[in-house]
Subunit: 235 residues, 8 copies
């Protein structure tokens, strides 16, 4: 194809120019990069820029193949690490945080919700918050949840991930007084495909004071918990 | 306006001509009339035709004002009765049915679901099936449901009405082995307005073997229970 | 109509039997009654039962006419009060709560959102939490919000009500580190009628850690804030 | 990538810890595993745990390639069997069940519905219930269905699978008095793509007492039939 | 309020200026006016203009009160006639048309569909086409339809109106070779409210060659039949 | 009801405090008030505050009864004027604007679209822009539009209002090179009820460079035209 | 995996048993097989059965690879032919049909609609109906359509395929009096992805008497045309 | 397969016959080809025809592999060029256009929106309009946008691309008086998947005079800007 043309050159990715470097100071949160719709090349460019700026980074929604492709482009970079269950890449080590025990518990109804729950857990660890996973406590076998009530009572914040009909956070928020953050999961089929039934179930919940984030948004739930825990420290 | 015109006369309602008189014999069900979109005049015409045919009748979704308007048109008719909570009109007395105790239990989470639950109960009574209502057992206060488990274990069929997120039938079907029929209720607001969130929650349920009818369809749930109970009698 | 019939009597409302009296102890929340789909008669029955049980009550979504109809039925009852802007009825006086200043701020973009914001404020006052309203800070005139930033920085929790495109909580959560609870408001027309565009805009937000409740659910946002503030007291 | 990091290790799948071993006793149903969103590795881990616990297992929505990948991981396991038409893996042999003849009939309109119908049939066989398939009885060629009426009259429960407009269960439930369970099938295009038109058609049915399960949920329909048949045995 | 202002006067309705007077010549159809969103004043203005232009007119979706209000405004006009069942106003007498017998049959499942069926019938009569109504032939009592098959075989075009699940046109088009036009009716509740389930059911139909018009569009179905019958006359 | 209570007084409407007085300077637009969800009392309060601030005001979506109720509350106010076709209240006279002729043409397909078209025209007049209405140019009678092409060629901006299938702006933007702004109108029934079909039709248009505003948003289309015309003046 | 098990053998495809062999006699239509959700193996089994029964067959929605796979399985079969543009397989030669010229015209707006238009054309040819394609007559360049009007006036039936906003059938039905069948095409993106905007645009059309089939249903439109043409022959 | 058959030959693509060659003259726009649903073969045929006709061409939505396949088919063609970031093929060089600086600015919130923004920029360059990209100005880090305000004030038209909640154009149109065209981007997940939340957010915007094009329609936004700029030149 013709190489010479009167059209100006294509735009560069540009992200180097305008990283939101003030986010950590403003919100107390590490810059997060949503990886799903970015190419390995775009991710590598962004991560390299962040490292040059002395920033930590957390990139979500990255499958193993894309992670490997990023790694190849950043072979000389130290501190890059892939977390397969959470499908995240991290860059750098969050420094001296001393996670206390038992602050946040992430619950989920089944193995299929694991990637979302693990993303929430990783994002909390990354900000120095301790976080325990409690899997397989779906409401179709209620006893498994009731057995854990005493332990759950000690948590500061509860994050409940659920696909299908999404009833877990409703049951939980009816039993316990802590902040409960519902995370609908896009696991399902028919009316529950894509997570919309779970989302609507959580929003429509008859349990008072349950809040919700977008479908599969484990990172967002973690940041909401971080806001709560930071706030309580502030008081 | 001009009274003479070449156009043919307007059609009559016509229902007299083609009542589904075989339904009682074929399905064992009394003819039911869905009253919501019919005028008092249309209802009176249909009911009069049914009485002439010796049929019993059950008309649903009729508010008090329309019931009164029907009654005025059928002042000479005996056996017409209005049931305000269930919003139904019945014509005639189902003869010698001897309802056994405890066969069906209709549960609901709150007072707002009452009209739907009452419609189901009435439709079952009308076919000679005993039916108990158990209200105020929403999942946000789970203990109220757990307290009733032993009693529920004795029922043959459970009908669970729920608006909002509609989690009641899911919890119920995870605890008990009987047939559970979910009835979504159009009580709610925002994402639960109209009952779609409850419907999707029940269809998406992680509890195995839960079946569902249309939103607010108390009558349909009753007929499904009737099919189950008739079937077991047949065996 | 025939008064004698073999059918059993209609069910009573029944709520007297199974009030969730444990909620205050379990969750630290006053029993709330969703008034929109209940008749004045049902509301009066429930409120009378609560008063007999020594409970406080908060009933939401009640217009002035229904409030008056309830009041007439409960003429002998002391402590009943109607709040027209918040469209709520309250029964009893929450005792010795000493609201601290500046704990929660409820923001909204315009006068049309006022009923939802006022419901949230009332529900917080009712549980002894101080709460300030900040109206007319929509994002189409951004300066009005930026002018308030320093004052907002002192709040413990921010509740942001918005109809139309619902961008206010997104902008807010990008500027401030506290917990931000978005309340979509059903004010709008065309694609924003019913509040779904605002809801989806908040859930899809690019600002990290924003959580959301159902459309128009001022009460729910208040209870979520209560969970956060109670929790921090616990630590 | 860096192997040493201050972050805690990734969560294990965990399902071993909290199998719902009480389900068979509580509901009379074999534990079922929804395979679609699980990796071969996760499935193998779960199945191995179930075998160690002495449980039977039924895993649905598994294509041939994933089934082979599971089998390779569980080469030493006896009793694992793949059912290609039903797309299910089973583990173990349900013991002494003596299926009676003619109890349940699964109908479908066309070859494209076969996987869903076969899943229902397998799930019933797995619980000791006899079940016959009756294919190619779509309503566009009504005679084929009417020809089978006498034979269908002998069934205890009818499960009707249909994609497209989903009219088969409606016609069936208007002709026969038994319990009819509609299973919408995600076969279609345009407005029927994904099965939503069939689902809504079944829920909206003018035939009284038809109940419905989620789209493609052959297993769920089978468990609903099991609840009915168990119940009738109990009487 | 101030009467003098610099703003130009409000626009008039204007329809007088640009009536589509060529429609009758171009398409062979009488000008139709959709009355639902027009005021009595607007309708009277339009009808008067048409009469001055020597045009016949058919206005649809007009309730009795609005019809009366139009009549009062056009007291001096002859040839205005209201058709309560079809909810239409007509102006003038279509001249010498000699309707043949049995050309079009309009079927419907129940009394609630009558206004739509009657609108179709009136629109056909208005264009000189004979049209018979056949009510109460819903698919839940299939025999009533099968009894009429021989008679239906003589029609040139079949128009099938159905609410709820909308299966009537599907069954019909599977049995008979004529053109079948499905008219979804907005009668229903829950998933069938507004007629969308019926519409999708008809579009998704497994019966070949069924065509569909918008929900409640009896007039449109009549015009489609007119196109077919005119065409065949042309050959 | 009890008048004394520990709760703080209800919030005032508050809009007086934070009018966006900078809008006229910032955007060149008069403050507009969306009247649909505001009470007459709220509107009167806002308008009085604007008059005290020396602002002009335009309030949209106000029916005649509400306009009268506002007028009664502001009996002493001069310069208040109601525009019944556009359903708008205006306050004050925009000063010395000298509208040029033929700058914007607002087209619509039928009388039912008139309120939206008139709102756009009024909003343009209010900002000193000349604007002509061209009604009854729907695409079902294409000649009426083609007859106006030469005249339309002289306009600077075209605003095309259409309900039903909304094809008018598509046809227009395929014929003429000016900016075309589509305004979907909520006139219709069945699939076009609420204007969503028209909106989607305009967005999906195969004509290049057509832009769209929200359903019924005549005011918004006018402001978009104002932005275009102001911009061109700037060059 | 274990080969011996107490479970009964898997169901066969079964279609051989219940081909709708009466369809050709009843409706005058060749049996059509919807190929999209069927495997090559299932298709080969069905086609072989039809050939044994002396039936012609038309299978739609088959890509080149699947067609080749079917052909390999039926290597010994004569009369099998693949039509790549229409994505159809045909079996056998429709005998003595003498297609007349100019009976049906299939129009489409662009090259992307070609597969749907070609499917309609093939299905008509297969039933002995002559059919011409007229491509590239989208409404964004209206002149191309207007240039063809005289020729279109000679057609008996018009089938108009359109994606995007789907305005072509509306414009056509406003200009010509013949039966017009709209076929929405799933070509588009954003709001028009999947063809829903085109479908709704056609159903909402302001042009009287336009009928519609499901998205991409070229075969259905052809059968609707066949019904019309057969009917007129019958008169 | 049989090669001889009575069926007529398959239709050709045909586009050669009816290119809309008048578009450039009528609208001032180069013919654009939507490449997503066209095969490489179809594209090559169309491009060759355009070159023979002396037309320039711009084909959008073409990935690198398809571009290469087109190039192979048109190896002898000069002037074909692929633009990977904008995913477009162009044919020919737009002649003597002298782009002025700073006329249009295309803004976007993040790297993921780049393909849509680049498509808009290319389409403007192709028509001789200068256009600058301004990336990474999402509203979650508002300062980055506020820093650019002075520079943005100099643009003639602003095109704002945004996925997720799509708030960028709302904030922009509240700050600046120029024409703002919102382009929703299909980047997101859960409720924002496909771009519908961003689209609705922009349409529902509380900022006056914002207009919107279809999701991902960078080309359409560019043509809307071209209409505006051409218009202003005309004055």
């Amino acid at each position: 194809m013709s190489a010479s043309a009167p059209l100006p050159p294509e735009p560069s990715t540009g992200p180097e120019a305008r990283l939101d470097l003030g986010r950590r100071q403003r919100l107390g949160m590490v810059e997060a990069i949503w990886g799903e719709h970015k190419s390995a090349e775009q991710l590598a460019t962004i991560l390299a820029a962040m490292q040059r700026g002395g920033e930590l980074a957390l990139a979500t929604r990255i499958d193993a193949a894309k992670a490997e492709a990023v790694r190849e482009r950043l072979a000389a970079t130290t501190g890059l690490r892939y977390h397969p269950r959470a499908r995240c890449l991290t860059l750098g080590d969050p420094a001296t945080a001393q996670p206390a025990h038992g602050e946040v518990v992430v619950l989920s109804g089944g193995t299929s919700d694991l990637p979302v729950a693990a993303e929430a857990q990783l994002a909390l660890h990354w900000h120095g918050i301790d976080c325990r996973l409690l899997l397989d406590v779906g409401v179709a076998g209620l006893q498994r949840l009731l057995d854990q009530l005493e332990q759950l009572r000690r948590a500061r914040v509860l994050i409940a991930c659920a696909g299908m009909e999404g009833a877990l956070p409703t049951v939980l928020a009816g039993l316990l007084p802590q902040p409960v953050i519902g995370v609908p999961v896009s696991v399902g089929y028919g009316v529950s495909a894509g997570g919309m039934a779970a989302l609507h179930g959580m929003l429509a919940s008859c349990a008072p004071g349950l809040t919700v984030v977008n479908i599969d948004n484990g990172y967002g739930a973690a940041m909401a918990a971080l806001r709560i825990l930071s706030d309580s420290g502030q008081a």
